[in-house]
């Protein structure tokens, strides 16, 4: 598989995970996102989706770590910051 095909496949999986999140199927989303976040070049959007799915399934400590990772990769990521602040405030 060349790089372009790999990118397309990651994009398809991210879209699928997003679809599951939007339909409150967090455990299905997590199955996909666990694999995607393990990839070396996983970007902030993948970790953001991972954070949402973890928060959605009440795994708050792991969700905080995912949102922290988003902010490391993209310090301007407003949504991740908001979620992290909300989770820390309890």
């Amino acid at each position: 598989m060349n790089k372009e095909e790999e990118f397309d496949e990651t994009q398809d999986l991210a879209d699928k995970a997003q679809f599951y999140i939007l339909n409150q199927k967090y455990s299905e989303a997590l199955k996909i996102l666990k694999k995607l976040t393990a990839e070396e070049n996983a970007g902030p959007h993948i970790f953001y989706l991972y954070g949402l799915a973890l928060e959605g399934s009440n795994s708050f400590e792991e969700a905080k770590n995912a949102f922290r990772r988003v902010i490391e990769l993209d310090p301007e990521h407003k949504e991740a910051r908001q979620h992290l602040d909300k989770l820390i405030d309890g």
Partner: protein, 229 residues
């Protein structure tokens, strides 16, 4: 007419209460003898008054005899807390709520007319301990010696099932008074997000979804049973 409030003592707790009431659109008199605290809160509140609340004339001059509910929000010195509570009742404040530090303080303010006493630190400590010991219990409000309202993460076994099928009242003696769901949405920027939606008094056909929080009313002994699921 909307209620008028006063907060006497602008420490962390008193300031937070005053700000929250103002945010909700109520008129609040925020009082303290420390000019720095008045200056600080005065940026956000119109009625921030520097006064010595142990002086009856100062309370009347500031208009505190017009308020419906006053919070006395300083624990120390206890003598001042007692005196301010008594003066507020004397000038005609209908309801005086007092933040207390211990049982002795509580007993004394009740005797001189406090309508309600609160122990924010003790109550918060109790809630925190409950949450630390049972991470799936998000909040707990004691209604009486036997009954509480509890927010808990829906156990995995319940996900995808309807309330009628779970039959929680019969099996565990608990009533579900609300379901909080985390619903996927797309925000204004087109980004995926999750929002909390609350379903008050859910119907028998309502289904428990992933990540839902159940708000239940139950006897404490029955809460223990459901926590084990």
């Amino acid at each position: 007419m909307p209620k008028i409030f006063a907060v006497v003592g602008l420490g962390t707790f008193g300031s937070a209460v005053a700000m929250e009431l103002a945010t909700r659109g109520y008129e609040v008199f925020a009082c303290d003898r420390d000019p720095d605290k008045i200056e600080e809160i005065g940026i956000m509140l119109a009625n921030a008054v520097e006064l010595d609340a142990t002086d009856e004339k100062a309370l009347r001059d500031a208009g505190l005899d017009e308020v419906d509910t006053a919070l006395v929000s300083f624990g120390e010195p206890i003598a001042d807390s007692l005196l301010v509570t008594m003066l507020l009742k004397e000038i005609g404040v209908r309801e005086v709520v007092v933040k207390v530090t211990d049982e002795r303080h509580s007993k004394l303010v009740k005797r001189i007319g406090a309508d309600r006493v609160i122990y924010p630190e003790r109550d918060m400590a109790s809630r925190l301990v409950e949450n630390l010991l049972s991470p799936h219990i998000f909040d707990m409000i004691e209604l009486s010696a036997d009954y509480s309202v509890v927010e808990l993460a829906a156990p995995k076994k319940m996900i995808g099932k309807k309330l009628i099928d779970l039959n929680l009242r019969k099996r565990y003696g608990v009533s579900v008074i609300a379901i909080k769901s985390k619903v996927g949405v797309v925000n204004k920027k087109g980004m995926p997000d999750i929002e909390e939606k609350i379903n008050i008094a859910p119907g028998a056909d309502d289904e428990i979804g992933e990540g839902d929080t159940l708000v239940i009313l139950a006897k404490d002994k029955d809460i223990k049973k459901i926590k084990k699921l």
